[in-house]
Structure formats: C-alpha cells, structure tokens
Symmetry: C2
Subunit: 256 residues, 2 copies
C-alpha cells in the first residue's frame, strides 16, 4: 500500500506546485513508484511536466463520480517511475456540482484506495483554497506537507491551516498526519527570511523538515521547459534540495 | 462617483494584496479619498494595515446580505484619506451559503453603489480563486487590475483570466474594463523575468501599465509592521513604484 501525501496551503504562491512536481520526480528517481495527481484547475503541475491541459479529457473528478477508472487516465512522464493524473478545467465546476452530493467530502477515498495498490507514493498538488476538492484530498490522504514561503503572510496563514487540519482529523480523517512543514524560497541574505525560519522553528519545532528549499532560479525556469528541476538542471541547488527532501521522507518511513 | 477597482488573479502569490494595500495607501497620500475592501478570508490586507482579523465582527458579506450598513463597518487607518472594510473568517462559509441565492453574483452591487458616493477610489483585494465572492466583486467593479508575477506559471494563468473576464463582461457586467496588467516582483538580473516581460508586452501591449513593480524586500517587510510601504520606508523602490502606479491611474482618469 502506497502512502498518499497531499501538498496544501490556502496561501497562494508558497511553492505547492513546485514541491509536488519536484518531490514526485525525486521519489521516482530514487526508484519509488510515484503518482502525481493535479487537483488544481490552474493545472500548473500538469503543464510543469510538459502536458498540455487543453488536450486532457478527464481528471480526478471523473474518478470521484465513478465515470472513469482511475488507472485508465494515468499519463506517462519523462521519468520511468513517475505517472501523472492531469488536471482539467472541469475541476472548476466540480466544487459547485458536489455541494449537494451525499458524503461530498469523501468522494476521493475510493479512487485513491484503488490507485495506492500500484504505487509507493501518491503526491497530490492542491489549489490555493480550502474548498471541497482540497477537503476531499485531505480526507483521503495519509499525510499533509505544508509548504511555507519565508515571508510574513505565509507565516500568518500557518496557524489557520493547522486549525483546519485538526478539524479534518476530528471529523473526517483521524488517520491524517502532518508529514511536515517545508520552508521554501529561503534566501539566507534576507533578514525577514531568517526571522520567519526562527519563528517557525520556535513554534513548530517537531513538525519541520530538516531540508529547507532555497530560492533558486532553476526551480522557476524548469516548468517553462515542461520538466522537473532534476531533468532541467540536476546539479542545481533547487534540484538537490528536493532530492534531499525525498530521501528524508523515505528514511522517516523506513524507521516507522 | 468613485471608481471601484478589483485586484484579482486566480494564480496565488502574484502580489494582489501587496498591490491593493500599497496602491490604496498611495492614492490616499495623493489626497484621493480611498477605501480598501478585503474580501479574501485569509485577511492579509486587513493584517497588512495593522488590524487584527480576530477582532473584526463584520465584513463585506454582512453588507451583501443586508445585515449591516456598509459605511458603519469602515475602519480608520494610519492614513487620513484611507479607510478599510476588513475581512472576516465568515467569508469562508459565504461562498457555500450564497450558492442558492437569487442573483447570487450581484450581491455586492448595492453596497458598493452606496459606498462609492463617499470615495474617489474603492480598491478590492480578492482571494486566489474565481469563486462566487470574487465573481461578485468583478460584477460590481468598474475595472480590474491583474497583477502578474514575472514567473512562468503566472504568465500561463493570464490567458485564462482574460477569458473569464470576457465571460463576465458578456453576462454580468458589460461596463467592466481592464484597468491594466501590472508586472510585479520584477528582478532585472533574471533571464526568466525579462522573458516574461517581453512575452506580456508582445501579446498584451495595450493593457500593460507603464509602471513595473520591482522585487523589493521592503514590500515584504512592511506588512509584518502592519504598515503600507510608504509609511514603513517611503524612500524604498517598492514604495516609490506604487506611488508611480497611483499617479498613472489618476492621470489616465483625468484624460478620459
Ligand atoms: N524555491 C524556489 N525558488 C525560486 N522560485 C520558486 C521556488 N519555489 C517556487 N518558485 C516559483 O514561485 C512561484 C510560486 O510557486 P508555485 O506556483 O509552486 O506556488 P503554489 O503554492 O503552487 O501557487 P498557487 O497557490 O497558485 O497554487 C512559481 O512561479 C515558481 O516557479
Ligand atoms: N514587489 C515585491 N517585492 C518583494 N516581495 C513582494 C513583492 N510583492 C509581493 N511580495 C511578497 O510576496 C508574497 C506574495 O505577495 P501577496 O501576498 O501580495 O500575493 P497575493 O497574490 O495577494 O497572494 P494570495 O494569492 O495568497 O492572495 C508576500 O509575502 C509579499 O510580501
Ligand atoms: Mg500551485
Ligand atoms: Mg492576497
């Protein structure tokens, strides 16, 4: 049984997609069978792996309403052990359509349970919101990675997200763990960035990954070539930091 | 009658809040009576002006459902001509509650019409989504500012947002204009940033503001002190660029 990890934070632009793409690619390079699922209608994880969202016909939504078999819509990527379930513009309307469904928060459970037999890791890239689609992912996931940009507003939102996680744990998914808080876009020359790191370490010591992702232009350039950083520039600080993150997650699991 | 400008982009972290706060503060410093309305449940524009969102009892939502008079919830700020309608956590539930309302997209029209008699400019900070609350703002606004971070994913989302704007113009608000596309977090040393600027200039030449907002650490530090950049460090490149933007918008209006 694979481990399903949602990458979520309602604060926008904190590095959710960059983390989802590069963590999934790194796990695959370390020979873990990995599936990346893009549930953000913006479809950044889809285009960041070189797939044109306009060519996509079905997404995870069609699996949630039992119209397609999840394994039938997995696309191959440039990395052997990495598959992708792309996003589709239909996801925009999904939230409204699902409002009146029976157990509307639990529709992603079945498709993910089916998929997790074929993979070691499933990584889910969420939209910058706590709407019904993201709630479905948190209800079905084993754990949650919270990317936190080393900026003031990102720090402010962290407390709110941890409260929401507690509510989900108590009502919808008692098994949901916090895989970790990931500090992103860290620039050691900036006083603000260092203050944020100190603050997060002080309040959330046990939950932070040892790996900190530096601000690195290669991470921003890679998606414009439709590749994860490890294929675009494997020697770059950005690519290496996500490889370290993948190894840290694999090691933690081995110990448990 | 004041001009209502929504600051919106479903892509997260592109500088919507930073633009809303600093443009509103700059307009006020240039002696335009200005109101900033925070409609993002994250309440970043609220805390960025030094107001604690936990102390807030009503937001624009209570005005949309006719429970409070909009002018009664305007808070004073450190700048004479600047008022704020803060955000409140209730906004999270508002989208679900409004789904079954009669003309649910037009609820913000009346409160904004009442308010615009007292101000020269009303600036609305939107959440990173195109949900019902953001649609309400676009339906009620005179124009729209689209912040675009000088990054690949932000460029990708621009086409989609312009399509959505056309739909709103045809169905809900024929008067909605594009005030402009604002390039943000521009770092002239980065090849990617220069490529993005070229791309946007090539495809959207007529819609871009002359003012480009540079990446400037003072803009990131200011909200942690609860101040707009013009009060935190008025000499900084960030503060000056938003003052230039405000002047550009005032001049454009004078000419029309
Ligand atoms: N460590 C990094 N160094 C440099 N640039 C980065 C880094 N991480 C992310 N970026 C860039 O910053 C921008 C925001 O990152 P990203 O899109 O991954 O955030 P997100 O949280 O997924 O945004 P959204 O809330 O819109 O889904 C992107 O343009 C990305 O390329
Ligand atoms: N020009 C700039 N220079 C440096 N930092 C900036 C600049 N503009 C914004 N920032 C910082 O980048 C981060 C993202 O900006 P901001 O929060 O304004 O974006 P947003 O679009 O409102 O995000 P969201 O989608 O979550 O609402 C913030 O931490 C902000 O302080
Ligand atoms: Mg994303
Ligand atoms: Mg914002």
């Amino acid at each position: 049984m694979g481990r399903t990890i949602a990458v979520a934070n309602q604060k926008g632009g904190v590095g959710k997609t960059t983390t989802a793409i590069n963590l999934a690619a790194s796990l695959a390079v370390l020979e873990q069978r990995t599936l990346l699922i893009d549930i953000d209608p913006q479809a950044n994880a889809t285009s960041g792996l070189g797939i044109d969202p306009r060519q996509v016909t079905s997404s995870i939504y069609e699996c949630m309403i039992d119209v397609v078999e999840p394994s039938s819509i997995v696309q191959k990527t440039a990395i052997q052990c990495l598959g992708l379930i792309p996003s589709h513009i239909n996801l925009v309307g999904a939230e409204v359509e699902m409002i009146n469904f029976e157990s509307r928060e639990e529709k992603m459970r079945r498709p993910l349970a089916l998929l997790s037999e074929d993979y070691d890791y499933i990584i889910i890239d969420c939209a910058p919101s706590l709407g019904l689609i993201t709630i479905n992912a948190l209800t079905a996931a084993d754990s949650l990675i919270i990317p936190v940009q080393c900026e003031y507003f990102a720090l402010e939102g962290l407390g709110k997200l941890l409260n929401t996680t507690k509510i989900i744990q108590s009502r919808l998914n008692p098994e949901l763990e916090i895989e970790g808080i990931l500090l992103t876009m860290y620039d050691s020359r900036l006083r603000l960035a260092n203050q944020i790191v100190e603050e997060v370490k002080k309040h959330f010591q046990k939950m932070i990954f040892e790996t900190i992702i530096p601000r690195n232009t290669r991470l921003g350039e890679a998606p414009s070539f439709g590749k994860p950083a490890i294929l675009y520039d494997g020697e770059s600080k950005g690519a290496i930091s996500y490889l370290n993150l993948a190894q840290e997650i694999i090691n933690k699991r081995a110990v448990q």
